[in-house]
Structures are given as C-alpha cells and as structure tokens.
Amino acid sequence: MFADTFYEAGTRENRLAVVVADISPAGSIQKFREDFPERFVNTGVSEQIMIGMCAGMALRGLRPFAYTIATFTLFRPFEFVRDDLCYQNLPVTVVGIGGGVTYSTLGGTHHAMEDVAVASAIPNLSIIAPCDPAETKAATLWCVEQTRGPVYLRLGKAGEPNLTEQAESWSFGKLRYLQKGDDVCIFSYGPIMKLALQVAAFCEQKGQSVSLVSTHTLKPLDREGIAEALAHHKRAIVIEECVPRGGLAGQVKEIACDERSDCRVDAFTLRDEFIHCYGSHADLLSAHGLNLEAISMKLELV
C-alpha cells in the first residue's frame, strides 16, 4: 500500500523522490523507478549516504523518502538521522519497513524492537506507525504533503489485512477510535493491532464495553486524547510491539500519573530481551508473551 500510494503521489508531485539502500524495489516502487528514474536513487548497502543524500535533496526543495528495513533506516545511520534530518529539521520521511519483529525468520539483526523508543528520543522527529493498509495510505499521503520536519514512518510488511474500514477518518497527531465503548480502552498501533482486536473481542465476551484506539501518531502523541480516554474508562490496556521502555506504554502510564487518573493501566510489550526464536510473526510475538492466551490470563477479567 505504501508503494502504490507513493507511486500515485509521485505522478502528480515532481518533488517526490525515493532513496533506497539496496532494498529490492517491490511492486509500485519498481514502477516508480521505471517511470521516474531520476527520482529513484539506490545508494547500495550504504545507509549513511542514503540519509545524507536525502538531507541534501531536501535542502534543494525535494521531498525525499529514505526507504529500507527499519533497522537500516534508523539504527545503522542513527546519527545521520539525528544531525542531518532532525537537527536541521528537514521534511524527509524515513520509512522503516518491518518494524518490531516483523521479519520473524531473519533473527535479531533484522528486528527493530526499539525503533519507536529510539526515534521518540530525538527532537523534531515525528513518528507514525499505521496499523493497516488504509492507515498506511493516509499516513503516506500526509508525509508527502507535510512541511513540519522529519518523520519516521514505521511500517510492517505488505499483505496485512484492513482493520480500520469502519473507523473515523485518519488525522495526524490524533487518536483514532476503531470502536467506542465505556469500560475498557485498548491502545495499540502497527500490525499488532490484529492482536488488539482479539483482545477487544475477548473483553467483550467477558461483558465489557470496549474502546479500541489506533495510536498511529506516536510523536507528537495525542496526550489530551489519551487523558480523555483515561477519564472515560475504568481500565486501559496498551498492546505494542516495542521494548518496554520508551514506547507508548510508559507514556500512557505517565499521563495517567500526571492526570491523577483512577484508570488502571496494563501494558503488554515486547520483552527487554533478545529472543533467539525463528518462525511466523505470531510465533515471535508469542515468544515475547504477546498472544491472546497470555494477555487474557493477565487481564484477570472474571
């Protein structure tokens, strides 16, 4: 969906460019390369120059997207993202594909378990993590148009199901309710939203009225929206594919503390651990304690 949207936007916006670091240009990115060869650059296995070139191109008024696997758009060239893009506040989109443990057979070198935490620490950097193709499309279009500064656009992999067709419209920096209830509020983002939907269904079976929220914009976080949700519900559950410190869970708890909220907050995150496990994405998440069985046991819903 990212590639289709990017291609389509690229046909009408000639400032749009993509700089990849030896990632095979699948689908519509390949089409973009064929139709707009000058606006497609492959730096090879050289992530620092991928980010550096994006900065220089942005300084010349272009709208570059850096595009490769999340560990290699954010971790490998970290100081280039920080200095070249964030310190200079340039409108470059850093696309990290395979956020979290998406690449579940490739091992820890390819797992961006800390991406949201690391990215959250840098001033000026916005973070968007869409949960399905529909959100990816809306977020990508926003990234194409925006002028506020650098963005980390955290994607899963192609072929995810659409989960948000019934939801309210997508808006940068605002919580997005996929459903509204009164007892339990579940906050999640990214492809693990599939699990959040299962947890929501489980809570409903237990007689709870459930809100499900896509917290797609992790920075700037909709603190006001979260405070309102905490005020409205008795319980909040955060489900995220990120290490325990530095992601959404700690921020929701922080807001609950600041607001002196009575809402109980339970967080389910990746473990603070490199787990040497290979299998499906669901297998990896299970190894981190992220499946319906493990979560439902800990929720203590009678």
């Binding site: 120059i49 070139m53 220089g56 010349r60 070249d84």
Partner: protein
C-alpha cells in the same frame, strides 16, 4: 553548466592580502573567547577564500549579497575561516563575531544551519560530503546549473560515511560537485602519517573511487585555481591540498595543542608580528 566564475580569473596577490587580514581577525576573536579552533581554520583558509572569492557566483541584492552556488564546511571546526569571510561579504555582522560563542550571539564553534550564510549544520565529521552529494544531485535533477563546494579534513577521510558519499557521487557522475581536502596531517591527537600510514597515498584512493583529482599545495591559490580550470567537468573533482596546520604563525605550525588552544597575550602579540605582510 560551464558559466561559473572559475572562468573570470583570480587575483592571487589580493587573495594573499585577504588571507593575512582573515588570520588577524581570527586571532582577534581568539582574545575574546577560549573556545575555538585556530589552527584548523588557518590550514584551510586559502581554500575557503578561493571558494568564496573566486568560485562561488554572487548576486548583489540589497545590503548583503547572495550566493548562487553552495559551500559546505564539512570540517565544521574550521568554521572561523568561513565566519570571517561571511563577515567580509556583510552576510554576518561584526557584532555576530564579537558575540561568538556567547549567549548574546548566534555563532558557535561549529556551523549551524539557519545562521546567515550557513547551508548545513556540521561539526560531527563525515556528514558534509553526503549532504553535498544530495544537494548536487538535487540540482541536477531539477536542472539548476549550480556548483556545490565542500571542504573536508583529512581526519574526515577516516569516516566510512565520507567514502560512501565519495563513491556515490562518482556513481552519479556529479560533475557539479567540487571538494577540497585539507590534508594538514593532524587529527586532534597526533600526526596521521605516523599513526595511520596506510591512510596514504590519498590521491590514488580518491581517483580509484572514480573522481578526477589533483594534489597541490593547499595554501597555493594559484595552483588550486589552475587545477580547477583544467578539470574535465565530466566527473566530481577533488583538490587534495597539502596544508600546514596553524599556517602562518610559527609556534602553531604542526603543533597539535593549537587545534584547541587560544593564544595568551604574549603569544597573540608574536602572532600579529609574524602576520605583518604578504611575503611573495
């Protein structure tokens, strides 16, 4: 792409007089504040002077001029050489330099994007070449006939990112990109030639990465200027300039401490006495 001021000729004697004046100005600033890099500014001064006064196309608009071409001080710690030149052009004001490294001012010990005349924030080594490559590529695909000039330190050639950029600029045939390496033989700690002998020869490495390159005396404006005039204009071009760290002040030359130190009153007087007139 051919009509740059490279063709308009360059008055070398006038350049020498300017550089003398710039050295005096940098030393004067050194008496206001301790935090500065005198010696690394002196080693690249003739390069930066040539770029601003001989290569960059300038448009006079209102009070201060505007450059059509770009300059990035990739070795950000050499930025005093850039500041004093920007002051000469009226792009920075005298007060900006008087307030160097103070809360009242806007100039720090490394260039900061957003300050008048500064096109990228550098200081962390190994960033300028990548940004310059992106700028030069952006100019090409937008059809803008401009040049991007960049000054690198020899220490920066120890950063892998610099070589990523050097290779990529050659892959893209960026003939609008011109780099100068300030080969002063010193990192912050010691002589490169002693600690890292495999670093040399530099020229062969640059050429092996697909650039057109020459090695000249980096204080010899005439040699650098003529080398630029004779370039093929088909590939990115690099001047590997052999320089003296602390050039112009005898007790600073080749002495590592002057990477950081400011001269005391006596040392300042001696330096000024040595910087009295153009020798050649």
């Amino acid at each position: 792409m051919n009509m740059t001021s490279v063709e308009k000729g360059f008055d070398v004697l006038a350049a020498q007089r300017r550089c003398l004046e710039y050295r005096q100005r940098i030393l004067a600033i050194s008496q206001q504040v301790a935090a500065l890099h005198v010696a690394p500014a002196f080693s690249c001064l003739e390069m930066v002077d040539l770029i601003y006064h001989g290569l960059m196309r300038v448009v006079e608009e209102g009070v201060s001029p505007r450059f059509l071409d770009s300059f990035l001080m990739s070795k950000g710690h050499g930025c005093l050489s850039q500041y004093v030149i920007l002051e000469k052009f009226g792009i920075l004001e005298k007060a900006d330099l008087q307030n160097y490294c103070t809360p009242a001012g806007k100039l720090g010990a490394h260039p900061d994007y957003g300050v008048p005349g500064i096109e990228a924030s550098t200081g962390s080594l190994g960033h300028g070449m990548g940004i310059a490559t992106g700028m030069a590529y952006g100019d090409r695909i937008k059809g803008d006939a401009r040049h991007v000039f960049v000054v690198l330190s020899d220490g920066e050639l120890q950063e892998g990112s610099t070589w990523e950029a050097i290779m990529m600029a050659a892959n893209l045939n960026l003939s609008n990109l011109i780099a100068f390496v300030d080969l002063n033989d010193f990192g912050g700690l010691a002589r490169m030639s002693e600690g890292h002998p495999a670093f040399y020869p530099v020229l062969d490495k640059i050429r092996a990465f697909g650039w057109e390159a020459i090695e000249v005396n980096g204080h010899d404006a005439r040699a650098m200027y003529e080398g630029l005039q004779n370039r093929s204009r088909k590939r990115p071009f690099m001047i590997v300039g052999k320089t003296v760290k602390g050039k112009g002040v005898s007790y600073m030359e080749h002495v590592p401490i002057w990477h950081y130190r400011s001269p005391n009153k006596e040392e300042y007087a001696q330096a000024l006495a040595e910087l009295k007139e153009v020798s050649s």
